[in-house]
Amino acid sequence: MAMITTNKIEHNRLTNNNESYRHLFVIIESLNKELIPSSLEMLGEARRLMDNFNLKYNLNEKVIAIHLGDGIKDLSQDLIYYGADAVIYSDDPHLKYPINKIYTKVISQIATDPNSIREISPEYVSAFKKPRYMFFLADSIGRHLSSTVLAELDSGLASDINKLVISDLEIKHQHKTKGENITYKKILEMYRPDFSGFLWTTILCLDNKNPEIKKEFHPQACSIIPGAFLPIIKDTKRTGIISEYHPHFNEEDLKIKVLKQELVKNPVQFENYKIIVSFGRGIKENPEDNIKLIEKLAKLLNAEIGISLPISKKIFHLSEKYDSIYITPNRVVGTSGRKVTPLIYIAVGISGAIQHLEGMKESDFIIAINPDENSPIKDVCDVFIKGRMEDVIPLIIEELGKRLGQTREKEKEIQVNTYGKL
C-alpha cells in the first residue's frame, strides 16, 4: 500500500506543471583553474532559492553547477561545498579558454541532453527537455555567453539582476494570455536596477499561452551582477554528485583560437588608498574646472578618484585628457562598478542612487558635499556639507593646505632640531 502511495506522489510530481523543465543550472566561470569568486555568490543565491522552492512546492529539484574548462575537474568538490547539489563538468583542452561559440554549443548540449542529468536525477530523465532556470554571471564572459546560449535555447533572458524571487503569479497580458487571467506557476521574478539606479524593473520569462502564438519558453534565465549576492559559508560536509559530460565539437569552430591571454592590472586600485573622492552629476556647472578642483583635493589627501555611474556615460564635454583619465568604467563606484570600503569616502555632487550607495556605504567615515539636503546620500553619511562644490571644496583645500603646511613645517622643525642636537 505504502509503495502505491509513494508512486502516486511521484506520479503527481511528474505530471505537475512544466514537467519537462527541471532544476536550476548555474554556469560557473573560472580562470587558470581558479574559480571566479562571483560564481560562488550565484551558487549561494541558487541554494537559498531552491531550498525555499523545494519546501514550498514539495519537490526535489537541484542546483546543478555547470563548469567547463581544461584541468578543472578538481574544482568540482568546492562547488558542492558552496551549495551545488551536483556538478556537470566538461574537462577538455578545447575548453581551456571561454571561446563564446564553443562554450555556447557545449552548454546548450548539456542543457538539452537528458543524459546529462542521468546520474543526478534519474527520475526526471525520460521527461527532461531543458533546465527550468539558468544563472550566468553579468561579466565580460557570462553576459555574452548567456545571450548566445539563450538564443540557441530560444528562450528569455534578463540581464544584470540583483534580486530574485520565485512565486506563482496571476498574469493578464495582451499577447501572452490573450487578455485572460492565467496563473503561471514557479515563475522567476528577476529584478533589474535601471541605468539611473532609482528604478527596479521586474522581468519575467513566460510561455505564450495565447493559442494563436502558443510557445513554451524555458529556461527562465538571467545574468547576475557580480557582488549582488553572498556566497554560503563553505561546508565541507556537503555531498553531491559529480558527473562528467563529454561534448561534441565542430571542427570548423576549433579554428577559433585564443593566441594569448595577458592579465592586466586595473590602473585604478581603490584598495591602495585610504581615501576616495568621488564625483557625480553635481560637477555640471563647470565640469572640467570642477574636476580640476577635485583633483587638487585628492592630491592633497593622497586619495584616489571615483565617479558615479551616470558620469561614465560621458555626459559632459571634456578635453580628451580629462575624459580619458577620469571618465572610465573602472572608476565607477557602485554595484555597476566597484565596491569600496576606504577609511574616508568623500562624495562630491552625488545624490546617492541605491546602486552607488551599495558600493560605498561600508566606508569607515563618509562625507558628502551636496547642495540638496534631501539627497539620499545624506542617509548614509557622517558629515553632510550643504553647499555647491565650487564654494565648499576651495574652503577645504585652503584649510587642508594650511594644516598640512603646518605639519610639514613641524616635521622640518623636528628634523632641524635633531640635526641641531647632532
Binding site: K101, D139, S159, F198, F217, K260, I315, K378, I385
Partner: protein
C-alpha cells in the same frame, strides 16, 4: 577583394547635459529628453569606417526603431561613410525584447547589399538606455557568426579570410584580461567603448580624409541611401517579432526602496567656516590614526 561590412546602431536618449531631463525622483524624463545616435553605436560606426579605409569595403548600416530613428542612421553615415542605410520600422516590432529584436536584425542583415553575405558585423557595446548588451550576441548567434565581444583592436587577413582581435575581458573583483584571438570570417564584433582607431600611415590618412568628406556629403542626402523595411519586406513571421516573439515581459517597474538610514549625518552649512575646519580636523585625525 573588399569586405562587406554591416553596423547595427540605435537611437537612444541623449544623456549629455542640456539634452537630458530627469524627473524630480531621479528617473529619466523620456518625454523631455532628446534622442540621438547612441554613443556606443557611434564607436561601432567608427570601427566600420576604419575597416573601410584600411581594407576597402561596402558599409551597410541598420537600425530597428520608429521612423525618427533615421536621424541615428544619418549620424552613423556621417561617421562611417555608409553606402546603404536600413531602417526596420513596423508597429509589429514595438516593445520587442532582445531575442525578438535580434530576429528582425538578423533578417535585415541577410538582405543587405543585395543579399550578399556580410564579412564583419559591428555593434556597440551596449545601449545606454536598455543596457543589456544582449542584442548584439543574439543577432550574431541567429546569423551563425562567431561573436567577439569587448574588442579593443583588430586586423583582417583578407587573403585567408581571418580576423585577429584584441579583447578586453573584465572580471569584476578578479582580473582584467587582454586576450588575442583569431577567427575565420564572418564575425560579429561588439566594439569596446575604449576602442580608438589610428590611421598611422600617410596613405591611410589621405584615404580617411577623402572618405570622411564623402561621408559628410552623403549624410546630407541620407534619404537617397535609406531603405525602410517592414515585416513584410523583411519576410518575417509576425509571431517571431515584437511582443508575440518576446519570451520576456516587463512585469512591473517600481522605485527601488531607499537604503535604510545607516548613519545620522551632522549637517554643516556650506558657508560655515568653523564647521568645515572641524571636518578637516576630523579627516586629519582619521588619517593619522
Amino acid at each position: 577583394m573588399t569586405l562587406n561590412i554591416a553596423v547595427i546602431v540605435k537611437l537612444e536618449p541623449d544623456f549629455s547635459e542640456g539634452s537630458v531631463s530627469y524627473n524630480p525622483d531621479g528617473t529619466l524624463n523620456r518625454a523631455e529628453t532628446k534622442s540621438r545616435l547612441g554613443a556606443h553605436s557611434a564607436i561601432a560606426s567608427l570601427a566600420a569606417f576604419y575597416t573601410k579605409v584600411k581594407y576597402g569595403g561596402y558599409i551597410s548600416i541598420c537600425s530597428m526603431g520608429p521612423p525618427m530613428a533615421e536621424i541615428a542612421l544619418q549620424e552613423a553615415q556621417s561617421i562611417s561613410d555608409a553606402d546603404e542605410l536600413h531602417l526596420y520600422s513596423d508597429r509589429l516590432f514595438a516593445s520587442a525584447d532582445t531575442l525578438a529584436t535580434a530576429e528582425v536584425l538578423k533578417q535585415g542583415i541577410k538582405k543587405m547589399n543585395t543579399g550578399k553575405e556580410m564579412d564583419i558585423v559591428f555593434s556597440g557595446h551596449r545601449a545606454s538606455d536598455g543596457e543589456t548588451g544582449q542584442t548584439g550576441p543574439q543577432t550574431a548567434w541567429k546569423l551563425g557568426f562567431t561573436f567577439l565581444g569587448n574588442v579593443i583592436d583588430f586586423s583582417v587577413d583578407l587573403n585567408n579570410r581571418y580576423i585577429f582581435a584584441k579583447r578586453l575581458v573584465a572580471l569584476p573583483g578578479f582580473y582584467d584580461i587582454v586576450e588575442e584571438i583569431q577567427a575565420p570570417l564572418p564575425v560579429f564584433i561588439a566594439i569596446d567603448p575604449s576602442y580608438k582607431p589610428t590611421f598611422d600611415t600617410i596613405s591611410l590618412r589621405l584615404t580617411s580624409g577623402r572618405y570622411l568628406k564623402e561621408a559628410k556629403e552623403r549624410a546630407v542626402n541620407y534619404k537617397s541611401y535609406l531603405n525602410v523595411l517592414d515585416h513584410k519586406k523583411l519576410e518575417l513571421d509576425p509571431r517571431l517579432v515584437g511582443l508575440p516573439g518576446s519570451p520576456t515581459i516587463v512585469h512591473k517597474v517600481e522605485k527601488i526602496p531607499k537604503a535604510r538610514t545607516t548613519r545620522s549625518a551632522e549637517l554643516i552649512e556650506g558657508d560655515d567656516r568653523q564647521g568645515i575646519i572641524n571636518s578637516v580636523t576630523k579627516i586629519l585625525q582619521l588619517i593619522q590614526k
